[in-house]
Assembly symmetry: none
Homo-oligomer: 226 residues x 2
Amino acid sequence: MKEGPDIALLGSLIGDPARANMLTALMSGKALTASELAAEAGVTLQTASSHLKKLETSELLRQRKQGRHRYFSLADDDVGAVLEALMGLAAKRGLVRTRTGPKDPALRKARVCYNHLAGELGVQMFDSLQARNLVSGDADHVALTRAGENFAVEFGIELENLKKSRRPVCKPCLDWSARRNHLAGSLGTAMLSRIHDLGWAKRLDDSRIVAFSQAGEAAFLKAFPI
Amino acid sequence: MKEGPDIALLGSLIGDPARANMLTALMSGKALTASELAAEAGVTLQTASSHLKKLETSELLRQRKQGRHRYFSLADDDVGAVLEALMGLAAKRGLVRTRTGPKDPALRKARVCYNHLAGELGVQMFDSLQARNLVSGDADHVALTRAGENFAVEFGIELENLKKSRRPVCKPCLDWSARRNHLAGSLGTAMLSRIHDLGWAKRLDDSRIVAFSQAGEAAFLKAFPI
DNA sequence: TTCATAGTTCGACGTTAACCGAACTATTCT
DNA sequence: AGAATAGTTCGGTTAACGTCGAACTATGAA
């Protein structure tokens, strides 16, 4: 990463294999943690941290803290466009690489994110709530609407109790497999708990997988339609 | 220039300051000799030779021998497009050389992008063609409509000749200053050439600036209205 | 032929930056 | 509170690559 004019700096940033691997991984659109990116690049966490710092200070990446995780994603569409162009040129030159395979499909579908539901079903729940105007707000700040409060109570959530706590009721949480948001906060926890109580799903030991039964998934999809 | 997958190799090639300077110089569209490129990069001839070899074997540059001179130029339009995109990103990140002279606004307005017109006027030309349904297609794939073909011929383009070549007639190219597209491909080259022939603009030496005369700009704006 | 210009190849040097171990902070789980 | 997980910072080592001097090839001019 030498000193240099204009495009040289960008080129050297992209030119390091470890950083190139990270950027390529982030081209999926997902936000990834430092550890995941380290694994993706095949370097230790310390080395990855150093790379990520450089990529962030040069505004190729942006970071969002979430608990003890740091989620990295491409800074904006322009970065993606440039990488896409580079990959296209590389492909034409016959320099393509075979990318690594997908991860555990069950984890992808539904899993616990600390204390709330994540994965495809978690994202779908959040999308459904938003589409029906049961929650409102932008990507960083979410709240239940009046209709949403009624819905929650009908679903079996003791909403008044949640409100008493200092912990935020609604919070968006960036998803691990999809890059979309899902529902965190005390409501997120309560929803997952209620899903267990209803017998829709069970937690598997030694895993973050949330295993829905057939009937449970059907009921879930009916309760949270797209 | 480390070993590495896909984009890392390209990145490291562009990432060296000397090579970046060479590539930038070649973005003017002119073919330059090894000595000229060495001077441009601020290195000795031996060093330049080494760089040029790398750029050539990775097919970013091509070489034509002419007597005891070797003329280098960008390998194809794709290389130019990638460099243009990188320059745009660098500009947005404020990583551009601080040497912003009086040239800067002129460059923004109209410049050569390898072999076709870029800058505000380049974007306007493309927008105008699109708005009047003379070209059609999405961001990645563009083509002349029937009306567009007539327009091109009337403008003085020998369209039949262009069609014979394997090179694409119409291609979009992402702009450096605006983030919009402008027209590349053999038609883009021909249009710029025609603009010169009409006397609307002249190329300045040692620069990518396309200098329109007052009358030339007026005629251009009339030919490509928004 | 002889000289000059254009460019390549080789070898050695020096700078740079990626890398990891170890120690440190921060957040969460029990 | 204590253990565990996630990530950062620091320092020293190592390997890579750009750089140039010198010697070499090739084309053109006198």
